[in-house]
């Protein structure tokens, strides 16, 4: 009986470990020669969560990147070579991400788009730096800048910019000082927490309540009831789309009526669907891409996106589109360079994108402004 139990445990462990081991085996090795070939397609990898709770981000990012690449391919590619996009699923998991970093290095991809998850990107960054593969991420955590990799670029502002703009609007413009915070302890939530607290501190404001939840927590009764008792005027959320939605939904059920404020996730349809359209009314959002109507370029992008994928474009798709355009422009100006030369070309690229005018600094950040919008009638509109 005992030995059989032990055997069963061993088999169970084996069952759990097997997929991991297989993934690890396939990672190293492969041939390194492909990258230097000067004919055949140009291989670009897209690494993002295509499954799991963060997969909506991955799906949007894939669409944005796909749109940009298809436009270039339709126009004849770069130097007569077509661009090939390899799609990899990191499941939003840093461990899977590091395995994929080795995989794309060994399979001869010369650049990478993604990921949309800061924690995954940070985990992959050292391997990509060693393999000299430039990476344009959609992450926005200040931790990405702290990695100090010359091969890592952001296709949007960092949390510092998002939250500084938000704090400026809430405290300086609106004069709201009683602010409660609820953030998760994942890579994104932690970055938001630190950046927003810092921006508040610079204005002499201390949050009246600072609740931290875990990244896969489902019930927020305790945190939200504590917040409700402090009667805040606005509640800051630092969590991904689905969790933010659940927090707002439960807050409304608990009788909290004040508006919520946050960065990019609060501007997405997934957030609004999860929370319920009526519940998100009045939410204050700091985003570099408020709507598809802001400029001629964004209208054109949104129309092409709608025609191709039969759904409305949103910020993450726009960011990935901008990032991919920058990469392709850099590939063109550098005559399809790889490694350090390609990274230098990306850094030198000045690009007027959907999010604004990109000009990269040494930290790999190319854009330093967001705008404030509020959700009104279910739509995100610029705050007057």
């Amino acid at each position: 009986m005992f030995s059989s139990l032990r055997r069963r445990a061993a088999v169970m462990l084996l069952g759990l470990a097997l997929p991991v081991a297989l993934a690890a085996c396939s990672a190293p090795g492969g041939d390194q020669g492909d990258a230097q070939k000067s004919d055949g397609p140009i291989k670009i990898a897209l690494v993002d969560a295509q499954s799991g709770q963060l997969s909506s981000l991955g799906a949007w990012e894939l669409k944005g990147a796909r749109l940009a690449i298809d436009e270039w391919n339709a126009a004849g590619g770069i130097n007569g070579r077509q661009i090939e996009l390899g799609v990899f699923d990191d499941q939003g998991d840093p461990t899977v991400g590091t395995n994929l970093a080795r995989k794309i290095a060994s399979e001869g991809y010369i650049a990478m788009i993604g990921t949309a998850e800061s924690a995954v990107t940070i985990a992959m960054a050292p391997i990509l730096r060693d393999s000299k593969i430039p990476n344009i991420t959609s992450g926005q955590s200040p931790g990405l800048v702290a990695v100090k990799s010359p091969f890592l670029f952001l296709n949007g502002p960092t949390s510092v910019t998002y939250d500084e703009t938000l704090a400026k609007y809430i405290v300086d413009t609106k004069g709201l000082k009683k602010i409660a915070m609820i953030t998760n302890n994942g890579g994104y939530g932690k970055g938001e927490h630190d950046a927003f607290t810092k921006s508040l501190a610079a204005r002499g404001v201390t949050p009246i309540e600072d609740q931290v939840v875990t990244a896969d927590q489902k019930d927020f009764s305790a945190a939200l009831t504590t917040i409700r008792q402090k009667n805040p005027e606005v509640i800051f959320i630092g969590a991904e789309e689905v969790q933010s939605g659940l927090i707002v939904k439960q807050a409304r059920d608990l009788g909290i009526t004040v508006p919520f404020a946050g960065a990019a996730p609060q501007g997405t349809p997934v957030f609004a669907d999860t929370a319920g359209t009526a519940n998100v009314e009045g939410t204050i959002v700091s985003s570099p891409y408020l709507s598809n109507e802001v400029s001629e370029a964004s209208k054109k992008f949104a129309a092409a996106y709608k025609a191709k994928f039969n759904e409305d474009a949103e910020m993450h798709g726009a960011k990935a589109y901008d990032g991919t355009q920058i990469l392709l422009n850099a590939l063109k100006t550098s005559n399809v360079a790889t490694g350090q030369a390609l990274a230098d070309a990306i850094r030198a690229t000045k690009y007027a994108g959907l999010l604004g005018d990109f000009a990269f600094d040494d930290t790999g950040v190319g854009i330093f402004a967001t705008r404030i919008g509020t959700i009104q009638g279910g739509k995100l509109v610029a705050a007057g």
Binding site: M1, R8, G52, Q53, S55, V212, D219, A222
Partner: protein
């Protein structure tokens, strides 16, 4: 005090879900001595079926739930049928078989419904009840009522019907049960079907509380499994008590330990299991290993 009670209420609603998941785990375990590792994924399939019937075909929520429970029960029967040749022969392969089924179900869900998932609006539209400054969601009450009804029906079935008694007999001694003319395979199929039905009930009910996506089964499965172990694996009252215990424990650790809540929940769980390895209701009807 208000925070305390409100936290308790929040924990009870997810606790009811964990209890339903734990019931499914325990039912299959007590009948077959098998841990069904695909159970969490079956919960997810149930959630998808219920939300699909409810959202796409615009059926009333109750009817969508009934269809989902039925459809998912059928999946349970299929799983048992495929694994049946291994029954009483190779237990380890059977365990791995359930893990495999879990992976298959998740992949199927991604193929059918896509990887992104969808939000399910609350089917009970009325505003939360207010009681001494506490707010109780009407939907939570519905969840609790359905969970309680399911538990009572299950106990009634096991103790007062012939089929239920036959299942108990198989659980105690499957060879003796065969000797007196009970069809063990059919009994096992019934256990799997009921387990899957309970999973679908949990999944369908949790849909409007959470977000339905192909990986939602993981966290629910682990918490449900922990609930079953905590209550005493195989015990029906144990699964119910364990479910609520995990739900409420989770809610309170979230309030007190914030970012470290998950850690504290499972630390408490581990300590309890070390003190009482058989769980709270430490009956062990089955030992077929």
């Amino acid at each position: 005090m208000q925070v305390f009670l409100q936290t308790f209420i929040g924990g009870m609603s997810l606790g009811a879900i964990y209890a339903l998941v734990a019931l499914g785990f325990s039912l299959v375990f007590r009948t077959m001595g098998l841990v069904n590792f695909s159970h969490g994924n079956v919960v997810m399939i149930g959630a998808y079926l219920a939300s699909t019937f409810y959202l796409s075909t615009k059926l009333p929520f109750a009817l969508a739930m009934v269809l989902a429970v039925g459809g998912t029960g059928l999946i349970g029967v299929i799983i048992e049928r495929v694994l049946r040749p291994l029954e009483n022969k190779d237990f380890d392969l059977m365990l791995i078989g359930t893990i495999g089924f879990g992976i298959v179900l998740e992949a199927l869900a991604i193929i059918i419904w896509g990887a992104t998932g969808n939000a399910v609006p609350n089917p009970v539209a009325s505003a939360p009840l207010q009681l001494f400054g506490l707010r109780i969601r009407t939907y939570d009450l519905v969840v609790l009522a359905i969970a309680a009804t399911a538990a009572v029906l299950l106990v009634f079935f096991l103790q007062s019907t012939k089929r239920g008694a036959a299942m108990q007999a198989v659980a105690m001694d499957h060879e003796a049960a065969t000797a007196v003319g009970i069809h063990v395979g059919r009994s096992n199929a019934l256990a799997f079907m009921l387990g899957a039905g309970l999973a679908a009930l949990a999944g369908g009910l949790v849909g409007p509380l959470l977000y339905v996506n192909p990986t939602m089964g993981g966290a629910l499965g682990i918490k449900g499994f922990a609930a079953a172990i905590l209550g005493g694996f195989g015990s029906i009252p144990g699964a119910i008590v364990g479910g609520f215990a995990i739900g409420v424990l989770d809610a309170f650790t979230a309030g007190h330990f914030q970012g470290y809540s998950e850690l504290v929940t499972f630390l408490v769980f581990t300590v309890v299991i070390m003190i009482r390895p058989t769980g709270i209701f430490g009956e062990r009807t089955v030992n077929r290993a």
